[in-house]
Amino acid sequence: MTTTTQKKSIWDRLEAVPREALYALLLIFFIIPMVNPIGFPVPISDEVRRWYNTIDALPSGSAIMIDFGYSGGGEPELGPMAVAVYHHIFSRKAGLKAICMSTSIEGPLLWDKAMAEVNPSRYGANYGKDYIHIGYISGGEIAMASIGKDLRAAVSTDYKGVSLDTFSIMQGIANAGSFQLLICYTTGGDQSEGWVRQWYTPYKTPYLCSVLAMMVPTMLPYQKAGQIISVTSGAQAGQMEVLVKVPARGIKSADVITMTHLLVVGFIVLGNIAYYAKKFSGGSK
């Protein structure tokens, strides 16, 4: 037995690699493709195409309720998706009314950040006519139910405190029935599921939802039951950018995601080989 204990086998050394070395390796796999992008192609998934077609098919003059419901933590993933979809809405030039609110407390400032990236004036869209933000509304599902039932009773000013009556976009907007589509970008399960409970269930408003990739599995039953038209993850922003023909942060991440995911597959395979090799050579647990 002495040989295996004295000579630390290759597998023991592999398993004893310090955490910091693993992190350094991960950082390298992030930085290499960022420094010289390889430009891997990106496949378009059904969910992203179904999302795109839903917006494309909206009759002109339709009103869309958009919930900018993600936190700063989710911005790197959901920001690019929100920006790509705004490009699509504005580029259609069909008089669509993008009426935005936030169930997340960082929503309004993240919306400003997204608008700076979209630059709506490039499409001739202006605030108060084509797009507006009616502010953060606290209370989660209570806020959703309240604006669904009587929007003007709940909110009377936009996110900067200016009365809603001064904006032409708000004419005829009274409650959930005034909207032809609901979109939600969020990092919170309570919010993505809350809209199913407070808008789809009572009013049957068509609902598109984009969440963190880790939340997609918990939203799939709603999509299968037809309560949500399409659930996408922010990580698919690159695909939306391809469809909207405005490449930005989303597409740039494709190379990095490929490289880092290859590293993860390598870790899984290596870790299990080490585990079974040690097991068959009589090593410890």
């Binding site: 399960g189 880790m214 939340m215 918990t218 410890s284 647990k285």
Partner: protein
């Protein structure tokens, strides 16, 4: 004042009222006789885990994760504390040192009481040392996570039990205790964290199983009766689904029409 039923919401109203009646009924019935529970694989592993810790003469670590007693995740914390009471009994019985690391200071008095009662019940009241066994680490998520990591690397516990609401730090805990060779039982009802526990831990209580474990161990008629009522609701769901599939296969839409009423 006219009152009309909304079409398409009648079955839902009927279902909600019958579920309410069922759950209240079984909460009352359970005051007389507690229903039996099925085997919970995670709980049955506890005696073996405690025995192993006693053999190796190393402590056992317990955490109920993050979450306040008044927050939305309070039921998960309550379930974790019920398991803590049970584990304290086992620890007193086999004479192994149990350490409960605390995130939320508000829980300390409750946990102290639970553990003391367990040690008294096993006749080992003097073996219980609250100042060593109930350790407040921090009220910040990552400060708590790194403090528990430090504890694991110093004390090298033989077993680690994690029942309650867990967030992003779950992977850090699971990996740290795996690396020092601790045998692990974990359970949370927070869906996003279950995969991490499933991947790394030896025993797992999945989602609602922690409520069942908490109710089973606490023998509280309210919790047990509530679970019994929910079980009837699940049987209703099973019957409706199976009947629906069969009638759909036979080309009939009777079940679907009923549900859409």
């Amino acid at each position: 004042m006219s009152v009309q039923l909304y079409p398409g919401r009648i079955f839902a109203l009927g279902m909600l009222m019958s579920l309410t009646a069922l759950i209240i009924l079984y909460m009352e019935l359970s005051k007389k006789t507690l229903p039996e529970f099925r085997k919970l694989a995670g709980l049955d592993a506890l005696p073996e885990m405690m025995g192993r810790a006693a053999e190796m003469n190393r402590p056992v670590h317990f955490t109920t994760g993050l979450g306040e007693l008044t927050g939305t995740v309070a039921p998960q914390l309550v379930a974790g504390l019920a398991v803590l009471g049970h584990v304290s009994e086992l620890a007193a019985r086999v004479g192994v040192k149990l350490v409960y690391t605390v995130y939320q200071a508000q829980v300390i008095p409750l946990a102290t009481e639970l553990m003391r009662q367990a040690y008294v019940k096993e006749g080992k009241a003097d073996a219980f040392k609250p100042e060593e066994q109930i350790v407040y680490m921090s009220g910040e998520q990552f400060a708590y996570a790194s403090a528990v990591q430090g504890f694991a690397e110093r004390e090298r516990p033989a077993a680690n039990i994690m029942i309650g609401p867990f967030y992003a730090e779950s992977m850090l805990f699971a990996e740290t205790f795996f690396r020092i060779g601790a045998i692990q039982l974990a359970g949370t009802a927070r869906g996003y964290q279950i995969p991490f526990f499933a991947v790394v831990c030896d025993y797992l209580l999945i989602a609602e199983e922690i409520y069942a474990a908490g109710a089973y161990l606490s023998k509280d008629p309210i919790q047990v009766g509530s679970i019994r009522g929910q079980d009837i609701g699940k049987i209703i769901a099973l019957v409706l689904m199976l009947a629906g599939v069969i009638t759909t296969a036979a080309g009939m839409t009777v079940i679907a029409d009923l549900l859409k009423m």
